[in-house]
């Protein structure tokens, strides 16, 4: 028997053969014993499988099975959210202090250049490693010291510190 006919028989059994081809296949079945036998075998096999699907049970308890699903779909725990919120506030403060420090350095630089222009500046000292800047104005008898602690330490105001020494 040709493969095409075998697949047509199967499609007929499954209700997938185009309507126009059904009658000619029925005519063929009426006179072809082998085709009838094959159709019977396919039909019996299909019915047997459909009617006897194994009743497979999940080999885990409801709680155990659900626990993994729950972990995957549960929203972030409150504690983690709180920690995340806390660390974001700290990061915000650090960014603010670094920006403020940078602004202060720029302000000093502007002040110094202005002092140079007016001839009031008496002394400027930049220590080794640029850890501190010192500005002394003899006219006003004022000393301004800027300490830069860097951003990697644990000081809350780690961007720097300004001390005014009269």
């Amino acid at each position: 028997m040709k493969k095409e006919l075998q697949l047509k028989l199967q499609a007929y059994l499954d209700g997938e053969l185009p309507v126009g081809e059904c009658q000619s296949l029925r005519d063929l079945l009426a006179k072809d014993r082998q085709a009838r036998e094959l159709l019977t075998e396919l039909s019996q096999t299909r019915d047997l499988i459909v009617a006897h699907e194994a009743a497979i049970k999940l080999p885990e308890t409801r709680e155990f099975y659900w626990a993994k699903i729950e972990r995957a779909i549960a929203p972030e725990p409150k504690l983690q959210r709180r920690r995340a919120a806390g660390s974001s506030i700290l990061a915000w403060w650090r960014r603010l202090l670094v920006s403020a420090g940078a602004a202060a350095v720029v302000a000093i630089a502007v002040l110094l250049s202005w002092s140079h222009a007016t001839g009031d500046a008496d002394a400027i000292t930049i220590s080794d490693g640029s850890a501190s800047f010192t500005y002394h104005n003899y006219a006003t008898a004022t000393t301004l010291v800027w300490f830069d602690y860097g951003s990697g330490n644990d000081f809350p105001n780690d961007s720097g510190n300004t001390t005014l020494i009269p």
């Binding site: 019977t40 075998e41 096999t45 299909r46 047997l48 194994a54 497979i56 709680e63 729950e70």
Partner: protein, 197 residues
């Protein structure tokens, strides 16, 4: 664990609650249908651990895609499609890892199934219903993944050829060939249930 007793609530109502973030409602859906979803994964993969993992992954995907569930089919049918797709992805990954495809060899070998003698099966011959189920399940396990998948999708999920072809990313002709082979192979494997005249 569920805070409220959802046992009397319909699937549709549970889906609506779950869509609004009610995990207890979703847990009830899992509890109701976990055997069916696991069974489908197991029938396709033939491995307990893999079937458990894939079925759980399907539930997670189901939760994430609940808004997409419009109710055209039942919730279980929708979930079954998700788990089948995950199994097919897994089987494809497995196939890619192999150097040689057994399925391809079967199909290329030129229609052994067409030469097999026709078998008449009598399902009532000598076996209790449960024994028969076990025999059929064992026979399914002897099919290649590609043939078993087509058979499962057609016989158990009642899917049409074109939908199977779409899901398996192959032609309708391939689906028909695989289904034909799978049925004939099953008939041969179950031939000791031969009709006694």
């Amino acid at each position: 664990m569920a805070d409220l007793d959802h046992s009397a609530t319909s699937d549709e109502a549970l889906v609506r609650s779950a869509r609004n973030g009610d995990m207890a409602a979703f847990e009830e859906l899992v509890a109701r249908h976990r055997d069916k979803i696991y069974a489908r994964a197991y029938t396709m993969m033939r491995n307990e651990d893999e079937a458990i993992d894939l079925s759980q992954e399907a539930w997670v995907k189901g939760w994430q895609r609940l808004v997409q569930f419009q109710g055209e089919s039942s919730f279980t049918t929708w979930m079954t499609r998700i788990v089948i797709n995950l199994c097919l992805d897994q089987l494809r990954k497995r196939k890619r890892q192999r150097t040689e495809s057994i399925e391809a060899m079967d199909e290329e070998s030129g229609g052994v199934e067409r030469q097999m003698p026709i078998v008449m099966i009598n399902p009532t011959a000598g076996l209790e219903r449960e024994d028969l189920r076990v025999r059929i399940d064992e026979a399914l396990g002897k099919l290649t993944e590609a043939h078993r998948t087509v058979l499962v999708l057609h016989e158990f999920e009642q899917m049409e050829y074109k939908n199977i072809a779409k899901m398996m990313n192959c032609s309708i002709g391939t689906v028909m060939s695989r289904l034909f082979y799978a049925r004939r192979k099953m008939a041969a494997l179950l031939q000791d249930l031969k009709q006694v005249d």
